[in-house]
Symmetry: C2
Subunit: 333 residues, 2 copies
Amino acid sequence: MTAPRYDVLGIGNAIVDVIARADDDFLVAQNMQKGGMALIDEARAQAIYDAMGPAVEISGGSAANTIVGLASFGARAAFVGKVKNDELGRIFAHDIRKAGVDFDTRPAADGPSTARCYIMVTPDGERTMNTYLGAAQNLHPADLDEAAIAASAIVYLEGYLWDPKDAKDAFLKAAAVAHGAGRMVALTLSDSFCVDRYRSEFIALLRDGVVDLLFANEAELKSLYETSDFDAGVAALRNDAKLAAVTRSEKGCVVVSRNGVEAVPAAPLDNLVDTTGAGDLFAAGFLFGLARNRDHVTAGRLGALAAAEVIQHLGARPEGSLKDLAGQRGLPA
Amino acid sequence: MTAPRYDVLGIGNAIVDVIARADDDFLVAQNMQKGGMALIDEARAQAIYDAMGPAVEISGGSAANTIVGLASFGARAAFVGKVKNDELGRIFAHDIRKAGVDFDTRPAADGPSTARCYIMVTPDGERTMNTYLGAAQNLHPADLDEAAIAASAIVYLEGYLWDPKDAKDAFLKAAAVAHGAGRMVALTLSDSFCVDRYRSEFIALLRDGVVDLLFANEAELKSLYETSDFDAGVAALRNDAKLAAVTRSEKGCVVVSRNGVEAVPAAPLDNLVDTTGAGDLFAAGFLFGLARNRDHVTAGRLGALAAAEVIQHLGARPEGSLKDLAGQRGLPA
């Protein structure tokens, strides 16, 4: 096995976030499930945009945010995802490349426009998401650079890829290529509603060894094993997953492996502004720790640090250098 | 004179801001004049965008920011400015309308794309701007709704309109229509380099009574009268302007009229993040005070309050309700 070219290569939906503040009444009036991610069509996207307040546009996408976080820690990182060659697609490509990420997926020349996620941030900092997948759903196995995947220590995949058929095929191909090269495959469950759509398939990915490392939050874990008991979910996960990190918001996270369960506290917060990207950035820190051969608790602390940074401002990408932040907090980076 | 339909109608360049953090070395390497606004062509816009870091997109434009601030105070406000019917143009239109502003200027169907301002925010919070005017420069006198102008208590114009020939003609037509209806005409000098380009014309606008109320910052005032002495600038302004408000950053502002000069302190700050929009939002508060028949010092305090809000976050539009903020601070709104 040759030395990896990338610490982590991520594959996900390439999305520009359209973020506005909203109150709970707006969510109710719009029939939005608070805290969730709903897939929407173009007509609904237009209706939501017409109804929502003044917004800011910031590049997003779950796995893309994670990969940008990894680059911010100083990791060598690449991203695969589909935009259209339109204004938002060029914005997405600019932002991820200038964050230090290799991004070489060819944009679509025609077809649906670049994906947008309409995010309502309520006064409690919670985010509620509505995603128009657009061009992102046309990510195809042929978009994968097999050599790049084989040359990545970890391939990181988002559960949201399971929604579009071609993207799911790309997911499975990437996992096969990675394992063929002796690399690690990581998956984030993305969202409890996403888990609800694909529960048995996601469990099979763990049991069949397609996925070596799982990221989930508490709600996703409970949805995965259809339990309201966190400890029961963790016990089930220990049987199925080689390694998993389960985030619990202000309660920190637990790292679950065949050897046991280790708890890591959350990082302190001054001001919760917008929870968008908390899980994505936790994954960035944790993956960075693994890529640098740190122990699980240190990896968890790096994850907690990155998550805390991103929820203290609007948008799901870090505003400053996570490498510098880790250094200031005495964490290895 | 009938009761006005709008408290303030603003005319300016319709621009989407593309905002990134940068250090001083970047400004030097890119030959950017720190704190200024440079007009750039499309090739330079592309070169700057290729060089600058990950960005966020937030609707901007000097007079547009002011008008959004007025709406946030609860004023009836309208904006006139030209976008193209492209993605950024639709973003601009959405954001200003959802801020409560009437915006009915027909977008261009072809020609250059919607204007962008590439803004570098340095660690000291100072912003350095590079504007590609694009579709904005095609604002034409025919785009004006004369009835709306005649029905506005105050027409607010930005000095930047003096750059494109047609926009300048629109400016002069708007001022004539407003005065024909017995309304007030206000002008912001926009930028000391803009003043440098049109000094004698701007002074003539004051002396000829085309402009009733002038907004300037200290640098613009000094540029206008080619003096390094602030008091000399104020004395000259007293001779030329019926009413003027001159902002001085942390030193607050002075309100200059034929009757005298009144100083108003700046509002307290917790955390300076991005000075973009400070002058625009000062003008919003001051104009709101005038529209509500407040005295000059109260108007100045409303301006200071709005300026302080906008420089404590990224972007040049208020994030919360200025009406609520004024209420919390015991100011009339």
